[in-house]
Amino acid sequence: MIEMKRELPQVFESFAEARKNGFLAVKKIKDSGKGVVGQFCTYTPLEIFMAAGLVSVSLCSTSDETIPDAEKELPGNLCPLIKSSYGFAVTDKCPYMYFADLVVGETTCDGKVKMYELLAKKKNLHVLQLPRNQFTPESKALWRSEVLRLKERVEKDFGVTITDEMLRDAIQKRNEERRLLKELYELSTLCPPPITGLRQLQILFGSQFKFDWREKTEEIQNAIHNIKAAYEAGERPVSEGAPRILITGCPMGGVTEKVVKVIEEAGAVVVAYENCTGAKQMDRQCPEEGDPITNIADHYLQIGCSIMTPNPNRFELLGRLCEQFKVDGVVEMTLQACHTYAVESSTVKTFLKERNIPYLQLETDYSTADIGQLSTRAGAFVEML
């Protein structure tokens, strides 16, 4: 069993108020005796941690604050998400990274895989071997055995036993959460949508940082209720004629909200997110009947990320969402040096051209230096719709 971290970092006193509060909130969880697991990716089967009574939290950082620290070891020309996340680990500036008793990564993109080797020197790290094919029996068997290996690691590190019953219960709870978040974002199929794309993103992104399942699901239910009630009362935060945009590409949140802002400031509205922050992880339900480990493994392996080859599930979802949300245009956000999404953007462009849906690719990083360029591109795109 590992020893769980409860004391605050040495640099704590140098933090501003908001960050101190963030640390104190996680410390409270730790003091209650709960273990914390940090993960980077939508492929991580959170049901395992939930079944073990652990708190899990996303460690994908969304700010450029720690990039200079990360670049002491990592190359400059690397995806900002990887650099920023690593930077928070080396500077003890993120409460989730700092307090994580176990960090879980997958063999997704090359940048992350090699970063994990460095991170393993600083954190208790477990890497899942994720295959890049979702359909062969061998890939499925490998991934199932990896999910099982993760369960065993969690049992060993935290001194718990995870039964099938516990896993089934966790699957049901996570399904409920997925169903509610899907119900929430599907409100934007209304014309005009009842919320702006920025608000939708903030709710979806924020839901990753709520740690009590019951409170979280109640909050989402309340949000759905309030949005519906306001709409029925005649509130229209978005104008009827606003062009409807779907966002695809790399994960979003934090500083990359800038992409949503420039689109909406140009007079359009973001109705759907096909990325990891949105539909990619909420769209499907995990099967509840049968062997829970197999169900969890099969469910997660089908996520349509550009690291898969080929990657048909992304296109199935993208096409379906474009119809369901009556989309007028698609904007793809690729982070600098995210090779898999950047290369796949050419396939996305062709896919959408065949469907007569205008497409714009925006490459950006975690700085705010490119807001002018982004707003000119987004503005011109909205003007041409």
């Binding site: 205008p358 490119d370 360029q373 000119t376 591109r377 503005g379 011109a380 003007e383 041409m384």
Partner: protein, 251 residues
């Protein structure tokens, strides 16, 4: 009385203004943008009004270009991409491709019936822009306005860097190695066109093509563009005003 509209295209290097009267160009004005785009735009507006002996009463003004955000007297703000498309269609009806080489960015716009179909702009980088050309000219001790003269004989040496900063040091080395300014100037133009062609390759080029932006009057640039695209490249007397014309049309 004929309707008057004004378009102001406030770019990083120059601020261009056009006054349309009954749909025809009645006045034009261009000034260096300088450090205060808002004030420069105001003087361009006043200059245009003065040429027509008018006050701004009842005249609609649209602003475009990177400086548009600060132009508070404009009734409308439109991106330079949409405006270039409209303006280019005015100058060359049925234009399909616009190549615009501006001060801080270059772009290729694919157009149909004056409307944007798709576009590509260069990234946060000065490669293939007017600024790149200006820096290179400065390094060779040539005024930008004299640059076209260096291109007259069509001499050229190869310049391997597209990055403005690296190209700058490459030019120093070439000068030290005894290359003539004419040869280096040819290489610089090749480099600009190579960058533009990379953008064009992503959306495809169709004829007719109109070259716009501050460098449109460079005869040497146009020749190299024609060689590389394999198509005639059109230039209008008002090419650098394309954005302003588009803005005035949409005001």
């Amino acid at each position: 009385m004929e309707q008057i509209t004004i378009g102001i295209d406030c770019g990083s290097a120059a601020c261009k203004g056009i006054l349309l009267k009954g749909g025809r160009i009645a006045a034009s004005c261009v000034k260096p943008t300088g450090w205060n785009p808002k004030e420069t735009a105001r003087t361009v507006l006043e200059d245009l009004l003065q040429q027509e002996n008018r006050t701004d009463e009842g005249i609609r003004v649209a602003a475009t270009g990177y400086g548009r955000v600060g132009i508070d007297f404009a009734h409308k703000k439109i991106t330079e991409i949409t405006c270039h498309a409209a303006g280019a269609d005015y100058l060359l009806p049925e234009v399909r491709t616009i190549i615009d080489i501006g001060g801080q960015d270059s772009k290729v716009i694919s157009v149909e019936n004056g409307k944007v179909v798709s576009f590509q702009m260069n990234d946060k980088c000065a490669a293939g822009t007017g600024r790149f050309l200006e820096m290179s000219a400065h390094r060779m001790g040539v005024d930008l306005s004299d640059f076209p003269k260096l291109l007259e004989e069509g001499k050229c040496c190869s310049l391997s860097s597209m990055c403005a900063v690296f190209a700058d040091s490459e030019i120093v080395s070439l000068l030290a190695a005894g290359k003539s300014r004419e040869e280096i100037a040819g290489g610089i133009i090749q480099s600009v066109v190579t960058r533009v062609m990379a953008l064009a390759g992503r959306i495809g080029i169709e004829s007719p093509i109109l070259l716009t932006g501050g460098l449109a009057q460079f005869e040497g640039l146009r020749n190299v563009l024609e060689q590389q695209t394999g198509c005639p490249v059109n230039v209008s007397h008002y090419s650098r005003y394309a954005g302003a014309i588009g803005a005035a049309l949409k005001a």
